[in-house]
């Protein structure tokens, strides 16, 4: 249970996107965001604030959408972690990713992976969210470019697609 303080050579494994991934010689204080990006070659989750404010680092951990910058990676060995890279199949975009493109919800794209993960999480629980529910679900994700209007449109497009039985 405890993580000892010989802090420069932690080795542990993480269950990421369904695969056990070895993390070697890491520092104890490393965030999951850092480990995903710098040690496991998964740069989808983005880092901006590193204090839970922007949501660009959002991943799914044990069916909850969390900020990976606030997860101590070495404490997540028992968790199932899903990153934006796990969405879509065989190089095809997921329904939410496609909807973001179609609705023009992507400008510079920095915030996009965090939004995509948060929207997947929302729609997996509720495929018919109203505007308030969408805004509430995305209140932890910041976008500096779009003004959110088209992101809202994209969520509605994806939601409609799911209700009509298109996409996953």
């Amino acid at each position: 249970m405890s993580i000892p303080n010989d802090s420069l050579n932690e080795s542990y494994s993480l269950n990421v996107n369904g695969t056990l991934r070895e993390v070697r010689d890491a520092w104890l204080g490393e965030s999951l965001l850092y480990v995903l990006r710098e040690r496991l070659g998964l740069p989808g989750a983005k880092g901006a604030c590193e204090q839970g404010e922007c949501g660009s680092c959002t991943v799914i951990m044990d069916d909850r959408a969390v900020c990976s910058c606030l997860v101590m990676a070495a404490s997540a060995t028992e968790s199932r972690i899903l990153t934006v890279e796990s969405l879509g199949e065989n190089g095809r975009l997921s329904d939410v990713q496609q909807a973001f493109l179609d609705a023009g919800g992507v400008q510079c794209g920095f915030c996009t992976p965090g939004f995509i993960v948060a929207v997947h999480h929302l729609l997996d629980q509720n495929s018919d969210p109203d505007d308030e529910q969408i805004k509430e679900a995305l209140s932890g994700n910041i976008c500096r470019c779009t003004g959110y209007g088209r992101i809202l449109d994209a969520v509605k497009v994806a939601a409609r697609g799911r209700r009509d039985g298109v996409g996953s």
């Binding site: 405890s2 802090s7 104890l28 606030l70 404490s75 209140s139």
Partner: protein, 274 residues
């Protein structure tokens, strides 16, 4: 649990890690170098809650995330707790953050703390060699200070269930992702005929407005449902605010905080009187 308490007792430098939403900010941005880290999120007994009808109370594990308090049966039993939980940060923060962490940090702006104060919660603290039950009023001792000693961990909190309205409200600079400028929790106990009011972010610790509470009991019979005049509600707010000692800092001024908390107290009282 025993193993965890052993580890905690054996490591002076140990930090308990729950949701990480305070601790990791310290590590990422303020150069905190954790020694031994003891995660508690995996301990089932610290992540569950139980309704105890015999003692008419609810016990909540210290590592239960806020998102589990926002809705469902726990929210029905403790609406003020659900409302406070809903105001914390963002969905991502609420999916991780816990009561144990709010108590560990003990910020005067911690949103759960006024609820624990108004409900007169008991904090269950464990150590390898002893256990303690501490009233919230004795637990928080100052700005970001509590009475925990090395080797201790908050296991759970117990709050009594009361019949009557309860609610939480806070003022901040916007609606989402905001630390309280001032906050208040009001709990009406219709059987005892009492209203409890706790105020956050307006003093070094959470303030119970005991004088305003007592004054109100003299003005109004608080058993069952009750009504208050606008004048009484207004004065209740002013009296409550006079029991606080707010400061001016980067989030707000003392004057504004005192005003805001009087408005919160008045509104909560008006909502509780129907």
């Amino acid at each position: 649990m025993d193993h965890l308490l052993e580890l905690l007792a054996d490591h002076d430098d140990a930090s308990v890690l729950a949701g990480g939403t305070d601790l990791m900010v310290e590590v990422n941005l303020h150069g905190r170098r954790p020694g031994t880290v003891i995660p508690v999120g995996g301990l089932e007994e610290m992540r569950e809650w139980n309704h105890r009808p015999r003692s008419n109370s609810v016990t909540i594990g210290a590592a239960l995330p806020y998102s589990d308090m926002e809705r469902g049966p726990l929210a029905e039993l403790l609406p003020a707790l659900a409302q406070a939980a809903r105001t914390v940060g963002s969905p991502q923060i609420r999916a991780a953050g816990t009561i144990g962490g709010n108590l560990g940090t003990c910020s005067p702006a911690g949103d759960i703390l006024p609820v624990l104060a108004a409900l007169d919660a008991t904090i269950h603290v464990l150590h390898r060699d002893h256990s303690r039950d501490i009233r919230f009023a004795d637990f928080m001792t100052g700005v970001k200070r509590n009475c925990l000693t090395p080797g201790e961990v908050v296991h759970s909190v117990t709050v009594p269930l009361t019949r009557g309205w309860q609610g939480y409200a806070k003022v901040g600079t916007r609606n989402a992702m905001v630390i309280s400028t001032a906050s208040a929790c009001l709990v009406h106990d219709a059987e005892e005929g009492h209203v409890a009011l706790a105020l956050g972010a307006v003093a070094p610790t959470i303030v119970r407005a005991v004088k305003a509470e007592a004054w109100l009991s003299r003005q109004v019979d608080l058993r069952g449902t009750f009504r208050v005049s606008p004048e009484t509600a207004h004065e209740f707010g002013l009296r409550a605010a006079s029991e606080t000692s707010p400061i001016t800092d980067h989030r707000s001024t003392a004057e504004y905080r005192r005003h805001a908390v009087s408005v919160l107290a008045r509104r909560l009282l008006e909502r509780s009187a129907s």
